[in-house]
């Protein structure tokens, strides 16, 4: 087990190094640059832009810039944002909570509902419920989140006035109830798509298991259906879901760009897009490394969890 972990860790480090080199190159090779947004400012000159670029070290050769960045990273210094001048880790940390809250609640909701819908659809195959769930999932997957979010705002905020039109909390309030009421719409909008995905996977996984011999045997030896379902079917059907959930971890933390935009939610998705828009290299690199690490951790965690849940699997 320990050997396995060490090998995985070593692989991960090599992978991270590659990701950082490729990411850095792609970012810097894209034309434009952090200063192009200032070009149309009244009175701005090429000479002034060049001076500022020099002061920021942007006129150095790319490999030098990369090594400089990497060397600082090794010492725990992720650099400072070009946009607001704060340390990168502080910038990322400042957006983590919002994303965790939204993605956490919506993922929990969609896994719970998705599992239920999937299992029920599989056990009552070709029933009205199954058809409705299938069609519902198709529709939910096809609706653009942006549009669905705006319609929800139009209906529940503008027409009915039940829910706030966005934002994480009322400025100056910020009580638990205030957070909760702001959370409802974005959570549901975001969960809608995920429920659809999740329920389809769960349905397929359950169907795979339900036709296996051991299920028939369990039924034949007279076990109650409920017991067969929970003890044998669902437990086995959840195994591939664990892997899937592990792969979802990075998504949870990298945010939901569209939902965050519609509901003005200050999360990681917005941060990533804004930082890209400003060519804020240090933050984009920070986010890139951050999500690469999460992907690696998520995969490792999923493998470990499957081993724990399924005694037949031995790592090593």
């Amino acid at each position: 087990m320990l050997r396995y972990l060490l090998a995985r860790l070593w692989q991960s480090l090599v992978l991270l190094l590659l990701v950082s080199i490729i990411g850095f190159a792609v970012l810097n090779l894209a034309p434009g640059g952090p200063l192009s947004q200032y070009a149309l400012t009244p009175g701005m000159t090429q000479a002034e832009l060049e001076r500022i670029a020099h002061q920021m070290g942007l006129d150095r050769p790319l490999p030098v810039q990369y090594l400089d960045w990497f060397w600082n990273l090794l010492q725990g210094d992720w650099g400072r944002s070009y946009r607001d001048n704060r340390p990168v880790l502080e910038v990322i940390g400042g957006h983590l909570f919002a994303t965790l809250l939204l993605m956490g609640s919506s993922t929990a909701l969609s896994i719970a509902i998705g599992t239920w819908v999937g299992v029920k659809g599989a056990t009552k195959r070709y029933s009205m419920f199954d058809y409705a769930a299938t069609v519902g999932a198709m529709v939910a997957l096809s609706i653009p989140t942006f549009w669905f979010g705006l319609v929800a705002i139009y209906l529940f905020s503008l027409k009915l006035g039940w829910l706030p039109a966005g934002n994480m909390y009322t400025i100056g309030d910020g009580s638990l109830g205030d957070y909760a009421i702001h959370l409802i719409m974005p959570t549901v909008v975001l969960a809608l798509v995920n429920v659809a995905v999740w329920s389809r996977y769960m349905r397929t996984a359950t169907l795979d298991v339900i036709n296996q011999d051991f299920v028939r045997t369990a039924k034949a030896k007279g076990l109650a259906w409920r017991r067969v379902l929970f003890k044998h079917v669902i437990r086995n059907a959840l195994l591939p879901m664990i892997t899937l959930a592990g792969l979802q971890i990075p998504t949870i933390l990298s945010g939901a760009l569209v939902t965050e935009t519609v509901f003005t939610w200050p999360g990681m998705g917005r941060l990533f897009l804004d930082s890209l828009g400003y060519n804020d290299y240090p933050v984009v690199m920070g986010l890139l490394m951050f999500s690469a690490i999460l992907v690696l951790i998520g995969n490792l965690l999923a493998d470990l969890l499957v081993a724990v849940a399924d005694p037949r699997i031995r790592l090593g």
């Binding site: 009244p42 400072r80 705006l150 966005g166 934002n167 994480m168 917005r270």
Partner: protein
């Protein structure tokens, strides 16, 4: 300069604001809702009350006013800091930290423009209680040219020499050469505190940059990154106001969402980039909201690279101008909001030339001009002369849908006169990078604010020594070179009396209208709005941001 000093304030007094709104209202421009309903203006409260939330579609992130920043950042700067003197909507300077605006008339500026003497107020304190003195002004002017400091802009400041603090309320300096735009630059130069910034070893990364301390009507409270910035009333403010207890700048990243939150009332004032033109018809009918079309200083033009052989012939540029159906473009594509123009100077400016020849849409005249100049159709119907085909590319920001339609419309029109225009649009970071700055384009559709504040000087754009592609320092991306314009610009830069300067700039506009290095299309107008009951929201064409006078805003 105006002798009429506003009592203790940066912004216009209520009466000035009323007069202005009345005038504009008569021309059907500003706040028809408010005036139409005949609401009386309420007096501001005795002490700061309530809060206003301003929505921006970009996030303010740079709070040190002297570091590279974008427009929305200036909203915070105007709230937290003060300049020596500010510029009001009529383009007049009003004293802020200075006791009076220095002019040639009052001896603040010497006749030759070389020696400056500024008298300062003695009743100003920084938000931390430290008194403001002439030392802070000296520190700010020196910081701007400090080679270690990542200064936003040095133009003008790099001419300042021998700064001397005569007393805590008086400062003098000498200019290396006369530079008439300097008052306008100073009006946009916010004074920063010496006692906080001087001890910092690295001023580029000072804590001050994320928690600014100023002298302005509002004090820094906090920033929730990606969401909003909160400011609180500065009870010790020396000028008029503040009348609001709390001021919030809310970041709403999408224009549709920004407008929706304006409709739902989640924001009180819709700031940059305001209401999109396609929502204007609906917005002006919204109950409880005051919505108005406000001209901005940005002028849209079709810009030529004058070094391209196709554009060297004046007849070609004139013909292309004749072939553009400006009226249809404005009415059909821009919802009739912008005002057509013949010049780069905003029509609100004191220096605007109203007597330029009017644009005349005429395919016949365009064809006649080209025929006369010897540009004859080739086998493919495209005109050519001496081996040069009248074919060129046109570029602008990819994704700007209205402009893309304008391009297609022009493409059709140009075809009618035997001119081929291809469209090649680029993402913003590429478009406005070296492609623009180093004149690598054939032609471009672009909106430019040519002025620094209210000053008419455009040397950075029109002088032959400002061509970056030829090693110059400036943004003369047309590569336009005209000795007469060079001469006039130099003259205008040496004159300090507005009436004398005006003649020079009227002449320059006349020449530009004749030479047509760019085809002036229209002056942009934006659709702005706020809740009825927020008073004091006054447009100012001379600044880049709505909240320039936020200290005087209040609820009715």
């Amino acid at each position: 300069m105006s002798k009429k000093t506003v009592k203790g304030g940066v912004g216009p007094t209520r009466r000035q604001a009323l007069t202005m709104m009345g005038l504009a209202g008569a021309s059907g421009l500003v706040m028809p809702g408010l005036l139409g309903k005949g609401q009386a203006f309420a007096a501001p409260p005795d002490k700061p009350t309530g809060q206003v939330i301003i929505g921006f579609s970009q996030e303010p992130t740079v709070f040190n006013p002297h570091m590279p920043h974008i427009e929305v950042d200036e909203g915070i700067h105007f709230s937290v800091f003060d300049p020596l003197f500010a510029v009001n909507p009529e383009g007049k300077f009003t004293p802020a930290l200075a006791a009076e605006v220095p002019t040639v008339a009052n001896g603040g500026i010497s006749e030759d423009g070389l020696n400056w003497r500024v008298k300062l107020r003695d009743d100003v304190t920084w938000h931390d209680g430290t008194p403001f003195t002439a030392e802070d002004v000296k520190f700010t002017l020196e910081l701007l040219v400090d080679p270690q400091f990542r200064s936003w802009r040095r133009t003008g400041h790099d001419l300042v020499r021998d700064i001397e603090v005569v007393s805590p309320t008086e400062i003098t300096w000498r200019m290396e050469k006369p530079y008439a735009p300097y008052p306008s630059i100073l009006a946009a130069t916010f004074i920063v505190p010496k006692h906080i910034l001087e001890p910092e070893a690295d001023r580029n990364n000072a804590p001050f940059n994320n928690a600014p301390v100023g002298t302005g009507p509002f004090k820094w409270v906090e920033r929730v990154a990606g969401d909003h910035i909160e400011l609180a009333a500065n009870d010790d403010y020396f000028g008029e106001g503040p009348y609001l207890e709390r001021l919030i700048y809310k970041y709403i990243p999408d224009l549709t969402v920004l407008y929706t939150q304006f409709k739902t009332g989640d924001i009180d004032v819709i700031g940059l980039q305001w209401i999109t033109p396609d929502h204007y018809e609906e917005a002006k009918e919204l109950p409880g909201k005051a919505v108005a079309v406000v001209p901005s200083a940005t002028v849209e033009s079709v810009t030529f690279n004058m070094e391209r052989p196709q554009f060297k012939d004046l007849a070609v540029r004139q013909a292309l101008y004749h072939a553009i159906d400006k009226e249809t473009i404005i009415d059909a594509l821009y919802y009739g909001l912008p005002a057509p123009t013949e010049t780069y100077m905003p029509q609100q400016s004191f220096y605007y030339n109203p007597d330029l020849p009017k644009h005349d849409y005429s395919i016949e005249k365009a064809n006649a001009l080209l025929d006369e100049a010897g540009w004859m159709p080739g086998d493919d119907g495209i005109r050519e002369k001496d081996g040069v085909r009248l074919s060129f590319s046109n570029s602008t920001t990819a994704g700007n849908h209205i402009r893309e339609q304008v391009q297609q419309f022009m493409q059709q029109s140009f075809k009618e006169i035997g001119v081929e225009m291809t469209i090649s649009n680029l993402p913003p970071a590429v478009m406005w990078g070296e492609y623009w700055m180093m004149s690598q384009f054939d032609s471009v559709v672009v909106g430019i604010n040519f002025l620094t504040g209210a000053d008419p000087d455009t040397s950075d754009y029109f002088r032959s020594t400002s061509i970056a592609a030829q090693g110059g320092a400036g943004q003369n991306t047309w590569q336009y070179a005209n000795p007469e314009v060079d001469e006039l610009l130099a003259e205008g830069g040496r004159l300090f009396v507005p009436e004398k300067r005006k003649e020079v700039y009227l002449k320059i506009q006349e020449i530009m209208r004749h030479d047509l290095p760019f085809l002036p299309m229209f002056q942009y107008a934006t659709v702005r709005g706020h809740k009825e009951g927020v008073e004091g929201v006054t447009p100012n064409v001379n600044v880049r941001i709505d909240s320039w006078n936020v200290g005087t805003w209040h609820w009715a």
